[in-house]
Subunit: 249 residues, 4 copies
């Protein structure tokens, strides 16, 4: 098989506004996420793109050469151009995998793909999160024990406003008492979509070895198994396969 | 139970541009569809709304008082204001039923709810369509025989660019050789969505007794069983249920 | 609408072997569950059936007159006759609702309907369970706050060996650290299936007002919306609708 | 990747009772199906098993060494031992792929995995079947044009008594006027299941190049992406992760 081509998209705003975030992610969150994938999937071709680049770094050429797109955004969702969202949606429907992280639950592209509110409840309180594996045989859970923990994370709680997931990979238990569907899979068109909850910008979540493992696994799971560029065509097939009888009016 | 409150939305353009369409639907397609529902569900409160009205007739008040919205559009999809689409989507997620007819497969609201291309193949050739019931016990198929036929219809063929339906109620056989998933159900948020294929504007489809039966059945199926206006809220729940231990940094 | 006809099936073994269980459920668990439904749905016609009755109380006549069947079993799953399981399955496919409680996750009928292992992890440790509502607008969650708690319950944990639920109504948080998909909906044939986790025999769970509310809501949700007794027929339709051309061999 | 290990299971009865079938499949249907896979997937390790062998050729060892099992049965479904069905089900839940062909819709293993009646309508009339691709980007449709035809086949028609497919790959148009969901995918446990309609024993269907292509594609699609042999374990996890407070009684 060819190497998987991954693009990690980062909003890249918190890192420049908050010294606390910059201290945890001195290279930017997108670069840390990309480094984690390179570490675990050495043959993958991993690049990055950010909000600040022309077309947010997601030109038609770049997307055409991307097998799996990873998305982290939070405070600047509204600044993402609709034309770029249209283009990413089209590529997902054609077959590109899409992995949406944490606060990306409110990204335009995630809401666009799912059609629901994607709302949830939340709390920032340095609390422990424990992610349980709902299916130890799922490729995204490969190498993960029955659960793993993050010592400090933001809490996300149910209700989570999503269509019923096609597959449930993780559910989180929070120290403060909540639960959340933390790892969810959907198929849309020819694309596979994975939402993975952890990753608040003030915590070192994307340095965590289990989180890195899950993201790398998800990249392998989401790589296209088939593609179809005609997914949005609506052809007029004037010539029928079978003869059509003239009708009396 | 309270009477079902139905709003039939019609694009209402073809009827005024094409004498052929005006001859088939002298009162407008929306009024013919509404009349069919009133005939079969005499206790329902059935109103209409059209593209040309302020806010396309779909004000917040009107939607709040609508249990099931029916949508027919075709040549003017692009003229539907995004703000109205946002509002309809919100109401569907809260619990309002949505029935999308025929060329509404490309309506902004349908694509918004499903997140996919909603593309298909098509042909206008006066051909026979036979709709097979995939589950005779489904409430939307009540009173329909194993199949029913429309002597002349536009053809819609697979591939149909939709997420896998939660329930398949009808599949069509076309004289010219194609097939199509003609009756599809989805759940999104608290709303039920039904897509029903027939209804090309130049044919008397909405005068057909089986088509009227299906639409009336779908209205009863799609009426809200539960509602939740908070579906898009994203509350910060600062106080945890359980105590959270202070963490060392 | 006609009154809902409910049959509560109880294994009725623990109550006679364990003084502890008999103390909590002196009338038998099935009668306590039935009393809860009668309390909240006064117009419902609620009966019971037990393992010890001829045909386990589930004759063809009884099932034909049942709209929603509730199932609690645990230590005697293997004693349920396959012929009765066949009959219940057939009625669910025709349209009867099925509500499976707690240890019924390993009942023959539950495994039969779902086709998977239905396995889980468990612990008896007098621990607190908090059930979160995943969709406050779902009819099964009507009248339930954002969550409710059971002070002492058995723990069930993920992985839960089920097909992906069509709708997720509750997820549980356990004091000991686990999570579980506690309220799950599926559609099979014309029947609606709801699995509801709580109800270990040594705890007064079926006296709890929230648990009773959920079960009553589920009864209303699961009542047949349509039925089809021919669901298992496989007819030879010798006469085609369209002419078939003779083929050269 | 390792070679895919495929076992083609054949009932192997018609071939010995009917000269007509023997003429079309002188080596037995299972061997013809196996030959088609070997032709298109030369690196696959393809074996066969039949009803007549001890344990129907599906010993625990054989199944443990099978990545994808293909199933064709018809007149002797009832002769398949339940213990073998149990074993196959367990392997599918662990991760083995399962491809069920044609009259296998009524095989014990298919009904076991799906939990529904799997009933349909049928007719033997030498009629043309046209299979439409519902998603040209699906890996099972790779190399198939927008549709393909079988000049003479048995007809299977809706309603087809199955749970809603996770993915719809093909829908058939029949000359005699019916339609059918001909290519359906489900996930159960870690196993992928594909049902493929064509293959009546008196027709040369498994010699057809498109049918062979679809089966080979399905083999690649269904190969395990992950496996979990503990899928049916129900462990008592006595030691909680978090401390549990003693409760007052």
């Amino acid at each position: 098989m060819n190497p998987i081509r991954v693009t990690v998209w980062g909003e890249n705003v918190h890192e420049h506004k908050s010294p606390k975030v910059a201290a945890v992610y001195p290279d930017g969150m997108h670069n840390t996420i990309a480094a984690g994938i390179r570490e675990l999937l050495p043959t993958a071709e991993v690049g990055t793109a950010t909000l600040q680049e022309p077309e947010h770094g997601l030109t038609a050429e770049k997307l055409a050469a991307t097998d799996v797109l990873i998305w982290w955004g939070h405070m600047a969702h509204a600044e993402v151009a609709d034309a770029v969202v249209d283009r990413v949606q089209q590529r997902v429907l054609e077959g590109m995998g899409l992995i949406v992280l944490h606060s990306g639950h409110f990204a335009k592209i995630f809401k666009r793909m799912l059609g629901t509110s994607c709302a949830l409840t939340w709390r920032e309180a340095d609390e422990k999160e424990r992610l349980w594996v709902c299916n130890p045989g799922h490729p995204i859970a490969r190498g993960i024990d029955t659960y793993f923990e993050l010592e400090r994370e933001e809490m996300y709680g149910e209700p989570f406003g999503i269509p019923s997931p096609d597959e449930q990979v993780f559910i989180s238990w929070f120290e403060g008492g909540e639960v959340f569907r933390s790892g969810c899979c959907w198929h849309r068109g020819n694309g596979k979509i994975f939402y993975f909850r952890p990753g608040h910008e003030t915590y070192p979540t994307y340095h965590d070895k289990n989180v890195r493992r899950v993201i790398a696994n998800a990249v392998e799971w989401a790589r296209p198994q088939g593609q179809w560029t005609g997914v949005s065509h609506c052809p007029n097939v004037k010539t029928p396969v079978e003869p059509i009888k003239p009708k009396a009016r």
